[in-house]
């Protein structure tokens, strides 16, 4: 059972590697992988698709910087942040803005599991934790 799950994960990982172009998820490659799975259904295709979906979602999240903001943010600032994250992680990262008034003012950038924050809410939270 554990060995089958491990094989499923390994197969899903191989499919994910086929879906990447220059470290980023390619829509065309993903479509091709899905078409291949449609034509040649392996055993436990449902588990493989779930693992593949999870890996693709993680890869997309790692290639995307979600910038939460309170107040307005310029497109140039969004582009600068994406460029800075691309330099930091060594792979192309795109930026997407998401409004979050709970921040009061400032930004919170989420890349995959990493979070970078410079906001009034964050500083207030640090203040509360320090007290």
């Amino acid at each position: 059972m554990a060995s089958g799950k491990k094989q499923t994960q390994q197969y899903a990982r191989q499919l994910l590697e086929l879906s990447l172009v220059n470290g980023a998820v390619s829509l065309e490659r993903v479509a091709g992988v899905l078409a291949h799975l449609e034509r040649n259904r392996p055993v436990n295709v449902l588990g493989i698709l779930r693992a593949y979906h999870r890996l693709v979602a993680g890869a997309v999240a790692r290639g995307q910087a979600v910038v939460e903001h309170a107040g307005s943010i310029h497109d140039q600032a969004l582009a600068d942040i994406a460029a800075a994250m691309s330099r930091r992680y060594g792979r192309p990262i795109t930026g997407s803005a998401r409004r979050n008034n709970a921040l009061l003012a400032g930004l919170r950038v989420r890349v995959g599991d990493d979070v970078y924050e410079s906001s009034v809410a964050g500083q207030l939270a640090q203040l509360a934790a320090a007290v």
Partner: protein, 181 residues
Amino acid sequence: MTLPLFLAAAQGAAQPGIVETFGLETKYIIMQVVSFLIVLGVLYKFGIKPVTATMEERNRKIEAGIRHAEEMQAKLAATQAESALIVKQAHGEAERIVDEARKTAKDFLDKQTQEATAKANDLIAKAQQATQLEHRRMLAEARAEVARLVVTTTERVLARKLTDADRAAYNDAATRELTGV
């Protein structure tokens, strides 16, 4: 008494008068001597000898009784001395046991006192520690509550007071900070 008279009569035989005067005759004298010896022998055998033996026996018994009494007295004295020694030893042993019991009781009392003191100190220390922990916990809770109230109030005030221009300026500063990561 008879023999001197006989001798005197023999000496005076030359001189008539004494033997004849007293009517002494040799055969009577010899018979009286033999009779005396016979009586003496009978008396010695059946009177003097048994009496002497009886007296010697009684003397031996008396001496044995005296020796026995002396021995008994000596034994009594020895027994009394031994009893006195035993009583003295028992008295000393009793004093030693009493002293030892007192010492043991004192040690036990001291030990119990020390243990009770240690337990009391331990209880006091634990109570003080619990009080301190409770005090710190209350202070931490109060501090956290105050901080939460301050932060909540500040958030509400800032949410009302911050203008779009303020937020834009803060976002620019945040952008510069994050791009410098």
